[in-house]
């Protein structure tokens, strides 16, 4: 087993990996940028090394700097987390050349799966169903139009090098395709350094269901069941659960077997996730494979009782899987809420800043994977994910009630967060009935908010006066600003006409 692992990441996932290292008696090494000197992962690590300025390309994406640190501190292995360099096969290759074990699949498997068009070609060969589309980079808007005419609108433009919703555009007709293609290409270029975009038929409001697989370096591959990830906004997952209420035992088995086939076809090792789109008739199509640990891995950990990060490290240390498929058992239900620093009243725009007050939930069936603390300033430079709040119960209803209880115990002050969104989702009758697909969240957000606010107005008025007397740490708002009201939209404020009192 390794004695020291460098964690090439930040935030909650770096903290998660540090915890696994400690439990295994391995020394965890953190890296940090200027913005992250006082970050939680740095505070928790045994060793921490500065790797550069705050912008990710100069720090968490800087392969040379990270490998220099890894060699200098004599780390035997490196865990990439998710995002950043986790799916960069050049990085995995560079680790191998430096004699550092990359905790993940081989560079070849990563390159195959990272190139979405090549992955499609390989899966078609292996008999795994794919969404209709092309498996080559688009050369021109004319070519895109031709293919779209052939497979039929609406279509989805996707970055060949991509993932995570970046470089992705839904196109409903030929007149939009040129602008959408240009936007997708430039976004892809910015996000991945490659502007190749391909086209797929858009399956409207499908279920987004993924299967976790684990493969050791001795030829054993198993799956750990599915995660329902249909609750998305702009192709970004917001809430995930396992099991999916849409998946029955038969579908679970067929998807699990397909996922194992996908992994085997790619000579895949370590932890990975095979994403499928599932239509209402329960046909499933291979979407892509994520060659890393997923953000939402905790829901699988809770229903299987397995520690995925621990198993990743063991696999990387060349140990054989001690769990066989027949031993994997699913028990209970788990739901994860991704708590983001973003403003629900302002189109969920990121809202970095200082966390002035933080109260964290605990108690039965609650797990909080966090990367922040009270007093920490959430930097402007990275993903707005603050923490993952995961609820576990004997069934879905139980998990929901525990999460709602935990949300009531949670408070984040000083910045905007999307906590109110989870209260809405978890109380929504359609969600509770399991009626969810990838269009669910947009439908919920259009439906507007109920007027539950009024009952506490008097208490709020009393509290305002009491704070004024008992806790004068904050001065009341600038009296020159607009009169107070219910939380008005920041988006509206951003572009509203403000009377200029100096004129």
């Amino acid at each position: 087993m390794f004695t020291k692992i460098l964690i090439a990441n930040r935030g909650e996932i770096a903290v998660r990996i540090i915890r696994a290292c400690r439990e295994m008696g391995i020394i965890p090494v953190a890296i940090y940028s200027d913005a992250d000197r006082a970050a939680l992962h740095v505070r928790m690590a045994d060793e921490a090394y500065y790797i550069g300025p705050s912008p990710a390309p100069e720090s968490y994406l800087n392969i040379d700097r990270i490998l220099t640190v890894a060699k200098r501190c004599r780390a035997e292995a490196l865990h990439p987390g998710y995002g950043f360099l986790s799916e960069n096969s050049d990085f995995a290759e560079a680790c191998a050349i430096s004699g550092i074990k990359f905790i993940g699949p081989s560079p070849a498997s990563m390159a195959l799966m990272g190139w979405k068009t090549k992955a499609r070609q390989q899966m078609e060969k292996s008999g795994v169903p794919c969404v209709p589309g092309n498996s080559q980079a688009l050369q021109s808007p004319e070519q895109a139009k031709q293919i779209a005419d052939h497979i039929g609108y609406p279509v989805m433009l996707k970055a060949a090098a991509g993932g995570g919703g970046k470089g992705m555009r839904l196109v409903s007709g030929p007149q939009q395709i040129q602008a959408a293609l240009e936007a997708a290409q430039s976004e892809a270029l910015r996000a991945f350094g490659n502007g190749d975009v391909y086209i797929e038929k858009a399956i409207l409001n499908p279920h987004h269901i993924e299967v976790q697989i684990l493969a050791d370096e001795h030829g054993n591959t198993i799956h750990l069941g599915e995660r329902e990830c249909s609750i998305q906004r702009r192709h970004q997952k917001v809430l995930e659960e396992s099991p999916s209420s849409f998946v029955d035992a038969d579908l679970r088995q067929r998807m699990g077997e397909a996922a194992v086939r996908v992994a085997t076809a790619a000579n895949y090792t370590n932890a990975g996730t095979v994403e499928f789109l599932v239509d209402n008739a329960k046909n499933f199509y291979f979407l892509e494979m994520n060659t890393r640990l997923q953000v939402e891995h905790p829901v699988t950990e809770l229903v299987t009782g397995l520690d995925l990060v621990r198993l990743q490290i063991k696999i990387a240390a060349n140990e054989k899987l001690t769990v066989s498929q027949s031993v994997v058992q699913f028990r209970g239900h788990a739901i994860e809420c991704r708590v983001y620093a973003e403003d629900p009243d302002n189109r969920y725009f990121p809202s970095p800043g200082k966390i002035t007050l933080l109260e964290e939930p605990s108690g039965p069936g609650i797990r909080l994977d966090t990367g922040v603390y009270e007093g920490w300033t959430v930097p402007n430079d990275y993903d707005p994910l603050l923490a993952k709040l995961i609820g576990y119960g004997e069934n879905r209803e139980h998990a929901i009630s525990r999460l709602l209880r935990a949300l009531n115990e949670t408070f984040v002050g000083g910045i905007h967060t999307n906590l109110s969104l989870f209260r809405r989702i978890l109380n929504d009758p359609a969600f509770r009935a399991g009626k969810i697909d990838t269009g669910y969240l947009d439908r919920l957000l259009i439906s507007g908010v109920s007027g539950e606010n009024r009952e506490h107005e008097q208490v709020a008025a009393i509290a305002a006066a009491l704070f004024h007397v008992l806790d004068p740490t904050i001065k009341e708002g600038n009296k020159k600003k607009s009169p107070a009201g219910v939380l008005d939209s920041n988006w509206k404020r951003a572009s509203r006409i403000v009377p200029d009192s100096h004129e």
């Binding site: 725009f349 402007n380 002050g413 904050i474 009296k479």
Partner: protein, 163 residues
Amino acid sequence: MIYNVSIAGRNSRIALERDGENWKCELDGVQFQLDARPIRPGVISLIVEGAAYEVKRDQLGNQTRLWINNIPFIAEITDPRSLSARSRSAATSTTAKLLASMPGKVLRVMVSAMDQVEVGQALLVIEAMKMQNEIKSPTKGIVEQLITEGTYVNAGDVLAIVK
């Protein structure tokens, strides 16, 4: 002590008076007892005739938010004599001042100072945490003041003035 508190656009008159460990409170003519204990900065435990609340306060930009059962309210303690003065100044102004609603970087500026712009015309793009947000002109007019590309802004900073 007497306060005029505005919550959700409604004004209330609150009288508070210490009564040993507790408070006597009069809200819009109704009297009751309050038991309020500061827990730590930003948190007060409040019991009003048996009903227990954990009330919290934070500040975002120039707004003070009060949280009751995790529902936010924007609160302002006002002096009633200043209200009429404020509404008069609002009515006479014709200048549109665009303020940043959150910290971020000015990624692109699509217009120049002294340009004529239309309602809804895109003026600039702000990026925060890899998300881009286009800021549009709320009014027709001349761009009189404009932030430069690459500037890092905080909530409340002036991005542009359109007159």
